[in-house]
Symmetry: C2
Subunit: 216 residues, 2 copies
DNA sequence: CAATTTCTTGACCATTCAGTCGACAGTTTT
DNA sequence: AAAACTGTCGACTGAATGGTCAAGAAATTG
């Protein structure tokens, strides 16, 4: 039996050591390739090479290109949703927003490829995760916006549209992953050690919380 | 002589009416296709079809796929740089930043494909316009950051890192083009008439200038 | 250690793709 | 309207790509 019937295999059959290892390596390689070429621009051969195996061998684990893409996208999506799920736990608006910015920036630094994969998928019209957007993500966002709305009603946050506020945080934090090349081009060699992330964190927190106008 | 030696043609020979029209249609089609599939994911056939002509005919105007990509990217880049060039004309920090946000958001609404094309190129490591980033864009940004730095020194703007401030504006405004699908999924049907852009404008201006903390 | 299962790969196939070519149609110039 | 140039396209080519298959190598199990 091939390991390809992953659904069944995961539930009923235990996966072998080699299987575990290779699927891991394939997904890492797939993230690398898909995140920089998009689905159609990536080739199975490239992914196989990057994973250090032959193409037929890769296709032994994932029968079709679509399967690889779906698997790596699913895995990425979880990482992506997690920080938002945590938003609002402490009920201190300023601290919560700072913490959310920190977490998202951290993710952009630690796993920029995942961010780019997600961005690619969305920019191509979200053909694969479109339904997730409209169901799970939308519900989650609706939940969080109502928390923000409450904070505003309580006078603990300036009256801004909560949806667009979330977009702003997404955009600014993911920018450091998605536009990494541009960021480094603008900042020069000082980005070699990723030290710019500390400055980014401080700048984002300052602007989001205090704005650009000088103290009144 | 074919119209393909565009460099020479543009300088020495006048371009025919048909040439003008067709190259225009091709570039529009190319923007459409490249912006949603990236360079490698797009096919010449797709572009030709979208331009309403056959592939050999398209290749009569642009000999190679690379040439089409380069041409449409060059054209896009100009649009992209223009708003930044205008930044700082009036020497009123708050007004200038508002105006920049407005202009960039306008661009995201009017020409989201151009924004996505640019984003794709950057996300793929800027293989084609990498040098432009490191020369022309960097010089322009350096120039604008020093204006911002002056504003800060004069106490007319809160002390934030000017580079990261520019990144923030880029990120938040382009988000509405690049992540259009996601934005619409979150906001629901109300986005059918693009009315959300007005709210986005107000939210961005408010957060950037005044921040999220309620009036102190 | 023999049988069974899992893993690996070279050779292969059908399709798609970028790009060419020659013949012909349309347009402009004289 | 003839000549010269410009534009269009069907048919093609070679290379790349997604995917298959059979046969053997490696690991696991009895």
């Amino acid at each position: 039996m091939t390991p390809v019937d992953t659904a069944r295999a995961r539930q009923t059959k235990k996966r072998t050591r080699i299987q575990e290892e290779n699927e891991e390596r394939i997904l890492d390689a797939a993230l690398e390739i898909f995140s920089s070429y998009g689905f159609r621009g990536a080739t199975v051969d490239q992914i196989a090479q990057s994973a250090g195996m032959t193409k037929p061998n890769l296709l032994y684990y994932f029968r079709r290109k679509d399967d690889i893409y779906l698997a790596v996208l699913r895995r990425t999506l979880e990482d992506w949703l997690q920080p938002l799920e945590a938003l609002g736990a402490s009920d201190d608006p300023a601290e919560e927003i700072k913490a959310y910015i920190d977490r998202k920036l951290e993710l952009s630094r630690e796993n920029p490829k995942a961010s780019r994969l997600y961005a690619m998928e969305i920019m191509q019209g979200a053909p694969v995760i479109g339904t997730v957007l409209n169901t799970r993500l939308k519900m989650l966002v609706d939940e969080k916006t109502s928390v923000i709305t409450r904070w505003i009603a309580e006078g603990r946050l300036a009256p801004v549209d909560p949806y667009h506020l979330i977009f702003m945080i997404w955009a600014t934090t993911q920018h450091y992953a998605d536009f990494d090349v541009q960021v480094r081009a603008m900042l020069g060699d000082e980005t070699a050690d990723n030290g710019h992330f500390a400055i980014a964190t401080r700048t984002l927190e300052d602007v989001f919380l205090k704005g650009l106008l000088p103290d009144r």
